[in-house]
């Protein structure tokens, strides 16, 4: 089989399973797809009430918080889905010969499509909150792609270990809320005291938040530093995720 054929085949599979994931996720809920928007909105309301008091007069705070929340929600949902993707498809993996990367890939694909669709109303809301569109805004497209690659890499890395140690999934559920508050989503990154900034910068999500806010909130070209760090993080995690996956995939059938 040629590589082109293999890729075409993988694409068809990812598309089919990804679409199925989206369908199943919202199948039995009345509001269906709306939930992917209601979740960040609920948090936004809380943040606006609580934090705009705490931080006083920050201009366009709802816009600031919404940008953080949209991308956090995407990251969190993707992690939950990708980490469990191999285990959840155990019966298929043990029965049908398929490229197993299909499962983390289609989970990532489903969440990515959800993000893109939810961006349509969210951009409307952002405009209402004072988003200024300019040529710089177009950078959000490659920025989302880079974040998507990063998310897939981290997720695949964790999903692989989750097959052998279900602790990984539990650990993620435990740590996700901590990561949420460790990342400047609700609070402004320039409020972080200089001496703690070193630690905050160890959090990869910090750099992505800076990237998204430079583009959408400050309407400015992200710094070379930010671009370099985010692109490097995405590349490293993507390669590492695939490497670990390929190294351990032969153990999947006997551990599912």
């Amino acid at each position: 089989m040629s590589i082109a054929f293999k890729l075409q085949n993988l694409y068809t599979l990812v598309y089919t399973i990804g679409l199925k994931n989206i369908k199943v996720k919202y199948k039995n809920s009345v509001l269906g797809f709306m939930w992917s928007m209601l979740h960040p909105l609920a948090y936004l309301v809380i943040f606006v009430f609580v934090f705009s008091q705490a931080f006083g007069t920050i201009e366009r705070y709802p816009l600031y918080a919404l940008i953080g929340l949209v991308f956090w929600t995407y990251f969190n949902n993707s992690m939950n889905q990708i980490i469990q993707s191999i285990i959840n498809n155990g019966s298929i993996i043990k029965t049908i010969a398929l490229p197993n990367i299909l499962f983390p890939l289609s989970a990532a694909f489903a969440e990515f499509v959800t993000l893109l669709l939810s961006l349509i109303p969210f951009v409307g809301l952002m405009l209402f909150f004072g988003l200024n569109l300019s040529a710089v805004s177009l950078l959000i497209i490659p920025a989302i792609l880079v974040f998507g690659i990063f998310t897939f890499g981290v997720g695949t890395f964790l999903a692989t270990f989750n097959v052998f140690f279900r602790d990984v999934g539990i650990l993620w559920n435990t740590l996700a809320p901590a990561l949420f508050y460790f990342t400047p989503i609700a609070y402004l990154s320039n409020l972080i005291p200089e001496k703690y900034l070193v630690f905050v910068k160890l959090n990869p999500l910090y750099h992505f938040m800076v990237l998204f806010r430079d583009i959408l909130f400050y309407n400015q070209m992200p710094s070379a530093n930010t671009l370099f760090i985010t692109c490097s993080l995405a590349t490293v995690m993507f390669v590492l995720g695939l490497f670990v996956f390929n190294r351990y995939k032969r153990g999947f059938v006997s551990n599912l």
Binding site: K20, S91, I92, F161, R247, Y248, G251, V253, N255
Partner: protein, 247 residues
């Protein structure tokens, strides 16, 4: 039966890679990323040799845990062997666990499309398969438009089996999957297997029911501890298999 081999297995070794439990084994795995020995090795198939001719109907027997399913999975390409050579000529349709890939929240039609795609059907082939599956399963339009979580176990089995056998493969691998559905459907399944056999499909059949194996197969092998203990005409191997329980 032809004389050409469609399946040739030479000196096949298959291992299971098993993770230990507890914090220490977790540490071991994390510390050994990139190294080879992170997981514990358990040898399941130990230097197995096998040759199956085109159009043959081959029975596979053996006690629980002797490696039958592992052999089938390896032949189907689901498990990568540790060493040895496998040569397979033609398409393989594994009938291992019935119902893998079915999504309970979705309708019968949606499931046909999804599972059909998973087993490799595309475009026009998939479209044609929908009708074949509908006819074979005898499920009505109403049934197929219903979420399959509302199906009875028998209906579910009909759908799953129909999808699995909707095309005639070169090689069919069956792992005790035929005991599904009501009596009428079981007869139909047996007929379908015969139809494939007549069309020249090579069949590998795993079952504990000697009567069933004797009805379908001419030759067989008995697995013991990851190796072939006895191979030959079905009656001889069946006899050997029965004897193995007596002591």
């Amino acid at each position: 039966m032809g004389t050409e081999s469609v399946i040739t297995v030479k000196d096949l070794y298959v291992n299971f890679w098993i993770s230990g439990t507890g914090i220490n084994s977790f540490k071991d795995v994390v510390m050994s990323i990139g190294k080879q020995k992170a997981l514990e090795k358990k040898q399941v198939l130990k230097g197995l040799n096998l040759e199956i001719k085109r159009g043959e109907c081959f029975a596979l027997m053996g006690k629980n845990g002797s490696g039958k399913s592992t052999l089938l999975r390896t032949l189907a390409g689901i498990i990568t062997p540790e060493s040895g050579a496998i040569e397979i000529k033609g398409s393989v349709a594994p009938l291992l666990t019935i119902g893998a890939g079915l999504e309970y929240e979705l309708s019968g039609y949606e499931n046909i499309k999804i599972v059909g795609t998973l087993i490799g059907l595309r475009g026009a082939e998939l479209k044609a398969a929908v009708q074949t599956i509908k006819d074979f399963s005898e499920l009505s339009d109403t049934d197929l438009n219903m979420q399959i979580k509302r199906y009875s176990a028998g209906m579910m089995a009909r759908l799953a089996f129909s999808i699995s056998v909707c095309r005639i493969p070169d090689i069919l691998i069956v792992d005790e999957a035929l005991s599904v559905g009501d009596q009428g459907f079981q007869v139909k399944c047996a007929d379908r297997i015969n139809e494939m056999k007549a069309a020249g499909t090579t069949i590998i059949y795993v079952s504990h029911s000697l009567t069933e194996l004797k009805r379908i197969c001419t030759r067989g092998a008995c697995l013991e501890n990851g190796q072939i203990a006895k191979i030959g005409p079905i009656d001889e191997v069946g006899e050997y298999y029965t004897q193995s329980f007596l002591h």
